[in-house]
């Protein structure tokens, strides 16, 4: 029948830590940060170091909002590699009061259109459904 192939173990390193340090520092303070181009004012989330719109790279870190509306969600029961040790989790998309759309984990009972406040567990953005 079938035979074992030689395993391909892919271990990655990537430069996100330095590139996105202000994002993680912001999360520790409970703030979600994106970047804004100082020249043309375009706001990026996920944050970008470069602005393809005006070709500039002079960016500043700015808050994208602290509360918003839950636009949609899904409850992950069949978890991928790397997430086996979590209980089932709910992934949502939130539109913040500043109009930025972002992915997060949902805390509480999800409902499309629910008002949420943004926070963090230190590893990702969370949104808590307001009672």
């Amino acid at each position: 029948m079938v035979m074992d192939g030689i395993p391909l173990v892919m271990k990655y390193t990537f430069p996100a830590e330095d590139l996105y340090r202000p994002f993680w520092e912001g999360l520790k303070r409970g703030e979600v940060l994106g970047t804004r181009c100082k020249r043309c004012n375009t706001l990026y989330f996920p944050p970008q170091r470069d602005c393809p719109k005006c070709m500039g790279s002079d960016m500043e870190w700015v808050g994208v909002g602290k509360s918003g509306e839950l636009m949609t969600y899904s409850i992950v029961e069949q978890k991928p590699q790397g997430f086996e040790n979590y209980d089932k989790y709910t992934i949502g998309i939130v539109r913040t009061e500043k109009g930025v759309n972002l992915m997060c984990w949902v805390v509480g009972t999800p409902k499309v259109g629910a008002k949420v406040s943004l926070s963090s567990d230190g590893h990702r953005v969370l949104c808590e459904v307001k009672a």
């Binding site: 949609t72 029961e77 978890k79 991928p80 989790y89 992934i91 990702r124």
Partner: protein
């Protein structure tokens, strides 16, 4: 398109868990059939385009071993990739090579052997189908999750239910039962779908296309060459539209339909001169049941939010207003990523030539459409064809 392009031969392997072959023998099943179907041989081919995502197989650079096995060395195996729309991106590349006058005859091979890794690894590869760091790394997205995000919002805005979505699976399995090459040939009920294991709510196991192995092939030629070869049953490619969208799903701002698909459809209708009302047969990208409902809306078969009605009324069944996926769809025929878009060309060619046996649709104008989405709406290709 500068020169008219026609499909002159098609082939398809059996889809499914193909532990009996490597990617090379699997490809040959489809290529051999396409050669026999067209009456052409390797010496007629000037360009080979291979569509394969390949990440889930042992051959992660499959183009050279596949082309060698198929006797195509020296015929430029060009490999292209556009996630789940890889097959259509390969067809698109070949069509353009012929339309531009660069070559007269091209062979497209779509192939993927996806079951060579275990399911957990496969999910982890699929979960990277968007933006690695800002989605998968932080949130543990799986590929079903992305479509589930669309399903939840579609349900909330338009009242679509899990039962409605299940109807798409029931239809797919019903037609796949007639298809000897389909991955699944069992029928399912709405209750079976609703009771199946939750993968990423509201998507359940039976809302999802399987992880499949499979290959499909198509030989395309210029109109001039088709006349010269006296091929009297070509299927003409009237247009190939394309569209794209953001990698980061949250940035799209609307989660009830795919902007990439709407762009691709607009281009395909504009170039071909046909409208949604002219389409009598369509292959749509039903990787998940919600995707079929969204496709009806994105392709303009019905207005936004009415996709479920089309399904409920049976208008996308055989001999309905626009028959959809009578070979079983991705959902039940199977979804080997690289093969899928080419298998759509296979299906449309068989239908337009009236060689589809028990699932033959009755045509009046002989106009068909293919809709193939890559990633979670990152790419889309819409083709329009006529006899």
């Amino acid at each position: 398109m500068d020169r008219k392009v026609g499909i002159v031969g098609v082939g398809m392997s059996k889809f499914g868990r193909r532990n009996d072959v490597t990617v090379r023998e699997l490809s040959w099943e489809a290529v051999k059939e396409a050669f026999e179907d067209s009456g052409l041989t390797q010496k007629d081919i000037q360009l080979t385009v291979i569509g394969s995502t390949a990440y889930r197989g042992t051959e992660i650079y499959p183009a050279p071993p596949v082309s060698e096995y198929c006797g195509l060395v020296g015929k430029s195996p060009l490999r292209v990739e556009a996630a789940c729309a890889t097959g259509s991106s390969a067809v698109f590349t070949a069509v353009n090579a012929i339309a531009s006058g660069m070559v007269d005859i091209a062979l497209v091979i779509g192939v993927d052997k996806m079951t060579e890794v275990d399911t957990a690894t496969s999910l982890a590869i699929g979960g990277r189908g968007g933006n690695y760091y800002w989605e998968f790394h932080m949130y543990g997205t799986t590929f079903p999750t992305y479509y589930a995000l669309y399903a939840t919002r579609h349900m909330s805005l338009f009242g679509t239910t899990e039962e409605d979505m299940a109807l798409a699976a029931v239809k797919a399995h019903k037609y796949a039962s007639y298809n000897e090459k389909a991955h699944f040939r069992n029928k399912v009920t709405v209750e079976d779908v609703l009771k199946s294991r939750v993968i990423s709510w509201p998507i359940k196991l039976l809302d999802s296309s399987p992880i499949s192995d499979g290959a499909a092939a198509a030989i395309l030629a210029s109109e001039e060459k088709i006349r010269e070869l006296k091929i009297d049953t070509p299927v003409w490619v009237r247009a190939m539209g394309y569209g794209s969208d953001t990698s980061y799903i949250a940035a799209r701002g609307e989660w009830t339909g795919l902007n990439a698909a709407r762009e691709a459809a607009y281009m395909a209708y504009k170039v071909s001169g046909y409208t949604p009302h002219d389409i009598e047969y369509a292959t749509v990208h039903d990787c998940f049941t919600i995707a079929e409902i969204m496709a009806y809306e994105d392709l303009g078969f019905v207005e936004k939010g009415k996709g479920t009605a089309l399904l409920r009324e049976g208008q996308t069944e055989k001999d309905g207003k626009v028959a959809v996926n009578l070979f079983g769809g991705l959902k039940a025929k199977g979804h080997p990523l690289g093969a899928t878009g080419v298998a759509m060309v296979y299906e449309i060619t068989k239908q337009l030539r009236e060689e589809a046996g028990p699932v033959q649709h009755s045509f009046k104008k002989y106009v068909a459409l293919s809709h193939n989405v890559g990633g979670t709406g990152h790419y889309a290709f819409v083709g329009v064809y006529s006899r």
